[in-house]
């Protein structure tokens, strides 16, 4: 299918988005039982009668889960329900132990809020929040034997219920209108801001690559000037910031193509493909889908006292947008520089690198230079690069100690990213340390003078600028490991020239 261009799509249509984000809370135990939520355990080792949905088992609400939900609600400027209930969402799936999900329906814990997000040019866009509600995660299905890992074509499926019952908060926006051509950017900025917020609240690590935060992008188009929303598609499990933007953009172009062609959009779920940024059709969502919600009779209503809510409100941390303004001041950055740090998702890595002992300018230099470039090239989030802030800080320290120069430091970073281990181990293994030992450098300097007699003469005649060429030659023979300043001194000394 040939898609109409993004610009052409926007010339005719106005996008309306709805974003649904699921956040796995970082509680120690599951939402309705005492099982561990630790990732990476042996399949089905973190289960009990309750999270396996065995006959006779009953749920008990995790108080920390409720507290986290209220904190998220407050940070999103929501009203907190004085009284709310869980509800059963009835549907079948083999990885759902009870064949109903304990969730919330018409009585969410938090509702009617907003989140202000900053776009790349600094403009603030307000995304209104419909609700934030508590629910439990399902187990995980692995489909074996097929080419794509999807159920289609698989010979059998394996079920792991370790994830079943892990607390989730689902955060649903109201329809996002008026973003126009910037809709994909708004979507990305919203998810990014939400992620920062969740992390600042310390209720989840919100790692999208680990599935701790998952986004569904609902999108529809309507011709300019029309009020009625078009039919929406629901692109499920879009799991990186970049993908959120790409998915929104692709769906805008796809919808426009269908509509321009006189076709109609089918209400369906869609799968997003990281490889090419496209989406393909999932299941049709017609009105036959009926979850038969009803209040969960195994749980009693939740009625958070106003005192508790106010206590939690008072304990909220500095919110990310305000914190960013503060950091910009502390780091002495221009609006533009701060914005590029934000766009790159570098605030947290830089902060953590500073916390690990690096100077602010050095920390920013690495994350915004080498690492940002790599993140762009690979299409992965900066924070998810295979290097830790502590490792970056260690490289900075080695430079400060004179053990590495800029070029060598770059090689060390690359080696760490390639999985060769800690910075010190890389220096050791690759023999990358700066050479400033005169005896080791002497031979290289002599060789450079001998091979470049004409240049040496120029220097002797007082043309000191020519020394750079000889330094370059030495650096070349020492593969960049020489201490450049010391090399220059040695050359001048050997040529009997005063600097």
């Amino acid at each position: 299918m040939n898609l109409v261009s993004y610009d052409d799509a926007m010339a005719s249509y106005d996008p309306v988005m709805g974003l649904e984000v699921h956040v796995e809370l970082g509680t120690k135990t599951k939402m309705f039982c005492g099982c561990s939520t630790e990732l990476g355990a042996e399949p089905n080792s973190q289960t009990c009668p309750t999270c396996l949905g065995l006959p006779g088992s009953l749920p008990v609400v995790n108080a920390i889960g409720v507290e986290s939900a209220i904190k998220i609600g407050l940070a999103l400027n929501c009203e907190i329900a004085e009284w709310c209930r869980f509800a059963r969402k009835n549907y079948f799936y083999p990885d759902m132990p009870k064949n109903f999900q304990t969730s919330q329906y018409d009585e969410p814990i938090a509702f009617n809020g907003y989140l202000d997000v900053q776009l790349e040019d600094g403009e603030i866009f307000r995304v209104e929040i419909e609700r934030a509600h508590m629910e439990e995660d399902t187990g995980k299905s692995s489909h074996i034997g097929g080419a794509t890992g999807r159920i289609h074509g698989a010979s059998h499926s394996l079920l792991d219920y370790n994830r079943a019952g892990i607390p989730l908060i689902e955060i649903v926006t109201k329809p996002i209108e008026g973003a126009g051509v910037r809709a994909p950017e708004v979507a990305k900025a919203y998810v990014a801001e939400l992620r920062e917020l969740i992390k600042a609240l310390d209720v989840s690590e919100a790692r999208m690559d680990k599935g701790q935060m998952r986004c569904d992008v609902n999108l529809s188009l309507r011709p300019h000037g029309r009020e009625k929303f078009g039919t929406r598609s629901e692109t499920k499990n879009v799991n990186s910031l970049r993908s959120v933007e790409r998915a929104a953009r692709f769906e805008i172009m796809r919808h426009a193509t269908v509509l321009d062609d006189g076709g109609t959009i089918v209400q369906e779920t869609r799968h997003f493909h990281e490889e090419d940024g496209s989406t393909t059709a999932g299941r049709i969502k017609d009105n036959a889908e009926d979850y038969r919600y009803f209040p969960e009779p195994d749980l009693v209503p939740i009625a958070p006292s106003r005192e508790w809510v106010e206590e939690l409100r008072a304990g909220l941390p500095e919110l990310p947008r305000l914190r960013r303004a503060r950091l910009q001041g502390e780091w002495g950055l221009s609006d533009k520089d701060m914005q590029s740090v934000l766009n790159a998702g570098a605030v947290q890595p830089i902060l953590e690198t500073i916390a690990a002992g690096a100077p602010a300018d050095q920390a920013r230099k690495w994350w915004m230079g080498e690492l940002a470039r790599r993140s762009n090239e690979t299409g992965t989030d900066l924070a998810e690069q295979p290097i830790t802030p502590a490792q970056v800080a260690r490289v900075c320290a080695l430079v400060a100690e004179g053990k590495l120069n800029d070029k060598l430091a770059r090689q060390v970073i690359e080696a760490v990213l390639a999985g060769e281990g800690e910075p010190d181990a890389v220096v050791e293994k690759r023999g990358l340390a700066v050479v400033s030992d005169d005896s080791a450098l002497g031979a290289a300097v002599d060789q450079a003078i001998a091979e470049n007699a004409a240049i040496a003469d120029k220097i002797r005649d007082g043309k000191l600028a020519a020394v750079g060429a000889l330094v370059g030659a030495v650096m070349k023979t020492t593969r960049g490991q020489a201490d450049a300043a010391r090399v220059k001194d040695l050359i001048l000394e050997k040529l009997g020239v005063q600097a």
Binding site: P49, L54, G56, V60, P94, D290, V300
Partner: protein, 497 residues
């Protein structure tokens, strides 16, 4: 002790504690009785001979060490097969759970074990507790020890029949719409539905979560009270469990004095459909209450007439969700898994084979009632009726201490008679359902034989939530007066098996 199987639980416990008889002897006597009569009665789905004798030995050893025994230590009990038992099959009377061995004990199960009660085995029941005759069991009907061609009531027919057939002096039932009380009435035994939330539901395989309540079954009011105290009380594993002290039911059962109590007769529970002999014995009981010094008044609770339709929307709705987990994926029966079929087809074939007709009927009914577009009219309206019923109870209890009615409109009917007429079957729970909808406490105890068929009639007593002790106070007094009048217990009139 002269008769190991006909003694009350209180007598047996005292005899064991004093060393007059060992718990092993008592247990063996009951196992022998089961062996002798259960082929006829079919009260048990599973008899745990080893486990029972082991538990009895543990009690005897404890006594030998000079440790203090609990009030029911060493007394045998029949457990309804709807409670999970670690390592012992739990089927809920359904084929779909055939072969499932639970990895955990229900709270009721573990409290019984902790009390030194000897669990003899698991008793027959209507599949998933859906029924009033135990005919809906996938493992064949249970016979009523008064007349084996008749039903023992349901869903807990196995537990009630085990008591009436002297296979156990104690039993546990569950009561969602009358499944403890109606079998109690039908078999001439005592059954109590405690206040909702006072006995933990953890490990009770759910039929209708907002209505299900486990409770004691026994041959005497005092035995029921002793069992009530053993199993009731707050459980952090059940969020709907009440965190408050259990009313002093044993003390109340021993009091035998109801002078000055105010008792209401529910006007709506009479008339068409009520067997003449049932009403005769009920009216005599009301007269007896007056003679014992209670003040009796007539009370009208008009919304009780709406209880049946409301119940048959709420219970199936919750059941349709609770039973969704039986999908052949993780435990129990699996049909058609030959490597060629999809998971969905295997689930469908398993349910087709594994669920009985009544269960399927209620799943379909409940699924429909919860459907979008019907929810408000059905489930929503039923919840409103529930509120009205609670208000009728509140108004009644503002003027009286307890209410009384017949437990069930008729005596035991012949097996097969109502099997194809679900509406006729549902009428058996007409008088018991309101208490489930309101969550209060109710008891059934024997009040005589209907003259026309010589079958037991039950008197129902209803008390406000958390006033379970009033049931035992009234029940204990009525039981003592009737036994005095008859010169023996009612059950002694039952034919020998």
């Amino acid at each position: 002790m002269t008769d190991l199987i006909r003694s009350t639980a209180a007598e047996t416990a005292a005899a064991i504690a004093s060393g007059q008889v060992s718990a092993v002897e008592v247990t063996q006597a009951h196992l022998d009785r089961i062996e002798a009569v259960d082929k006829k009665v079919n009260a048990f789905l599973h008899v745990d001979t080893e486990g029972a004798l082991g538990a009895a030995r543990a009690v005897d050893e404890k006594r030998a060490r000079g440790e203090k025994l609990g009030p029911l230590a060493g007394v045998p009990l029949a457990l309804k097969d709807v409670f999970t038992t670690k390592g012992i099959p739990t089927t809920c009377g359904s084929k779909i759970l055939e072969g499932w061995i639970p990895p955990y004990d229900a709270t009721v199960t573990s409290r019984l074990k902790d009390a030194g009660v000897v669990i003899l085995g698991k008793t027959n029941m209507d599949e998933f507790a859906m029924g009033s005759s135990t005919e809906n069991s996938a493992y064949g009907p249970t016979g009523n020890p008064w007349d084996l061609s008749r039903i023992p009531g349901g869903s807990g027919g196995g537990s009630a029949a085990a008591l009436a057939a002297y296979q156990a002096p104690l039993a546990i039932g569950t009561d969602t719409g009358g499944s403890i009380r109606q079998p109690g009435a039908i078999t001439g035994t005592v059954g109590v539905k405690p206040t909702y939330g006072s006995v933990s539901r953890y490990g009770l395989v759910a039929f209708s979560s907002s209505l299900d309540q486990g409770g004691p079954c026994a041959r005497t009011v005092l035995d029921a009270a002793l069992l009530h105290e053993a199993i009731a009380g707050h459980d952090p594993m059940d969020s709907t469990s009440i965190d408050a002290p259990v009313p002093a039911v044993v003390e109340a059962a021993k009091r035998r004095d109801i002078r000055g109590m105010r008792i209401g007769v529910v006007k709506e529970f009479a008339g068409e459909g009520y067997q003449a002999g049932v009403m005769q014995r009920f009216n005599e009981s009301v007269e007896l209450l007056r003679e014992l010094g209670a003040e009796v008044v007539e009370i009208s609770c008009p919304s009780f007439l709406l209880a049946m339709p409301a119940y048959y929307l709420i219970a199936p709705s919750e059941a349709s969700s609770n039973l969704a987990r039986f999908d052949a994926m993780r435990y129990g029966l699996r049909v058609g898994d030959d490597g060629t079929r999809s998971a969905e087809d295997v689930t469908a074939l398993t349910r087709e084979a594994g669920f009985g007709a009544e269960v399927k009927r209620r799943i379909i009914l409940g699924t429909y009632a919860l459907s979008s577009g019907y929810y408000d009219a059905y489930y929503g309206s039923a919840q409103k009726v529930r509120t009205l019923i609670s208000r009728d109870f509140d108004a009644a209890f503002a003027g009286v201490d307890v209410l009384v009615s017949p437990t069930t409109p008729t005596t035991a009917f012949p097996i097969g008679e109502r099997a194809d007429d679900p509406l006729a079957m549902y009428l058996a729970d007409l008088c018991t359902i309101p208490s489930n909808l309101a969550g209060n406490a109710a008891m059934s105890l024997p009040c005589g034989l209907a003259p026309e068929d010589n079958l037991p009639v039950g008197l129902q007593i209803i008390a406000p939530a958390m006033a379970d002790d009033r049931l035992y106070r009234v029940g204990g007094a009525v039981e003592a007066a009737l036994n005095d009048k008859w010169g023996h217990t009612l059950l002694e009139e039952a034919p020998a098996l």
